[in-house]
């Protein structure tokens, strides 16, 4: 699925001065299977970009298309299908459910498409070093641990694009690399691409495209 941004300008950012290389207000194509880094300093609209592509925010001028379909014309069921099977996301604020366990958080997502077995999901947590948190209430985990849970949750569905909004901001280098390994392997399996927003760190990956805000 090709994502195209056509002169997109979010209302809250319209009054700001954007750099020459900023994607806001330009024609940008995110090609299927590409690894893309979206680089920007704070307040430039990284989360706005993720939310706009996910159909959460609609306050912008211009248009966003998936292949040739304008996302403003998509129905509720189209969005449900896209969020279940085409685009997965790791939100900056993680958007986990703090009152239920890690297991329940992950199964809640996995139950939608039955992407993995319970053991496989447990295996991901084990690989990321938080298997012992399986039955623990999510809200009691540290931010770094919650970030890893959010990354595993984003894996628990088929997708063509994985949108990640500063997913490693609370992780050390070792855990970041483990997470990246998991993400790259999953993307390779699904032949899908990802967009990773960052404050400038490329985390040692070769990107197909680097975008600026």
């Amino acid at each position: 699925m090709k994502i195209t941004l056509n002169q997109v300008m979010p209302f809250p950012l319209a009054s700001m001065q954007h750099g020459e290389h900023s994607i806001w207000g330009k024609h940008i194509e995110l090609l299927h299977g590409n690894k893309i880094m979206l680089n920007a300093s704070s307040g430039k609209g990284k989360s706005t970009f993720i939310h706009t592509v996910l159909g959460i925010r609609k306050d912008y001028t211009g248009s966003v298309t998936f292949d040739s379909a304008d996302i403003s014309q998509l129905s509720t069921s189209d969005w449900t299908n896209i969020r279940q099977r085409k685009i997965s996301a790791v939100f900056q604020d993680l958007q986990l459910f703090p009152s239920i366990t890690v297991k329940e958080n992950l199964l809640l997502k996995n139950n939608l498409t039955q992407a993995f077995t319970k053991d496989e999901i447990f295996g991901f947590l084990d690989f990321l070093g938080i298997a012992d948190k399986w039955e623990q209430q999510c809200g009691l985990l540290s931010m770094g641990q919650q970030q890893r849970v959010a990354i595993v949750r984003a894996m628990c569905q088929p997708f063509e694009w994985l949108l990640m909004d500063e997913p490693f901001s609370h992780l050390d280098e070792e855990n970041t690399q483990r997470c990246l390994k998991l993400i790259i392997e999953r993307c390779a399996t699904l032949q899908s691409g990802f967009v990773l927003t960052s404050l400038g760190d490329n985390h040692g990956i070769q990107y197909d495209q680097t975008l600026m805000l």
């Binding site: 996910l54 959460i56 509720t76 069921s77 969005w79 449900t80 969020r83 279940q84 099977r85 996301a89 939100f91 958007q95 459910f97 009152s99 239920i100 329940e104 199964l107 809640l108 997502k109 139950n111 939608l112 498409t113 949750r153 569905q157």
Partner: protein
Amino acid sequence: MIQKLLFRNQDRKQLIIAMLGAFMGITFLIASVHYLIRLNEFGKGSEILGPNTIIVQKKVSNSSSLALTKTDFSEREIEKMEKLPFIEKVKPVISNNFDVSFETADPLVPRFRSDVFIQTVDPSFLDVHSNKWHWKEGDSYVPIIMPRDFLVMLNTFMSASNIPQISDDLAMDIRFKFTVSNQTKKVWVDARIIGFTNEVSSILVPESFMTYGNEQFSLGVEKKITQLMISGKENEFGKVEALLKEKGLESKNAQMVAGRLKSVIGTLLLVVMGISVIAVFLSGLVLIQYMQLLMSKNEYEVRTLLRIGYAPKILIHTFFLYFIKIFGVIAALGLASFFILKYFLDEMFTTGGIYLNTTISMATFIVLAMVYLFFTLASFQTASKGIHRHF
């Protein structure tokens, strides 16, 4: 798992209060609907006059005996009465203006003959279900409705003649005969009893027979209207009674007592039903408000579930199902308590001499289904609106 996520940490106090209100409201609502229907049916079919119908005449006083006051009704009086808001209809009771005698004409029954007084009333007042209630010239017999007192009198006569007494059914098989006459001519017309009444003191005949007699055998004297049939509106019998008092009219006591009783209990039940409807409505509203509160408490959860790919219809279904289950439990408990209440109320009515039909009226279930349907629709609407707001 979604249930665990969405319905945890509820403030159950408000839910329990709303459930209690709805439960009580439903119990009293279906009970009042049931008894209102059964009460309206009370007495129907057993008598020939329609519901809330009485025959009235002016009270005979010493002055009327001396012809100082009138005992008949003028056209204007009838018209005025008809215009009253609690009166459904008023019609004169028509009496014979010809000579008529009544006698047995059956070889199995000894001869019994008497000059009689026959009357007819507008068919719209009668609750006669017999298809025999019609007559035209040339028909083999005139159908008649007898005052029950007449059967008592006939049986007294039979007993005195050493003949076995007869039942209602047997009396309906005996052949009778009317002798209709005036000063110049006379005819005999066969008659058959098709029913009995406690409400009218004269022999009732079809209107067509009365018209025939009054036209063909008129005695030439203008007949005055001394009795009226009055049909009052449902549960407004008190006003009819006040009117009778005001106008110096009287009716058979039994008719008045039954009418008054029905009116009083009917009004009471209407009040209970009104309060119950308000209770059900308010508690339904509290339940709906509780649902809105629950959705608003779970705003983050709902929004996040939608963002991770949950379809709105799954979430709507979850909230909707939870609340219609709650209301289902309330309705079932309400129905169960109605059965218990009904057991005691039926006993109470029977002890009080009011023999109501004890089968549960279909309307009870219909009302319950309607309340449930109303709540279901309101719940769905609220859930749908609450979820789509986050999409």
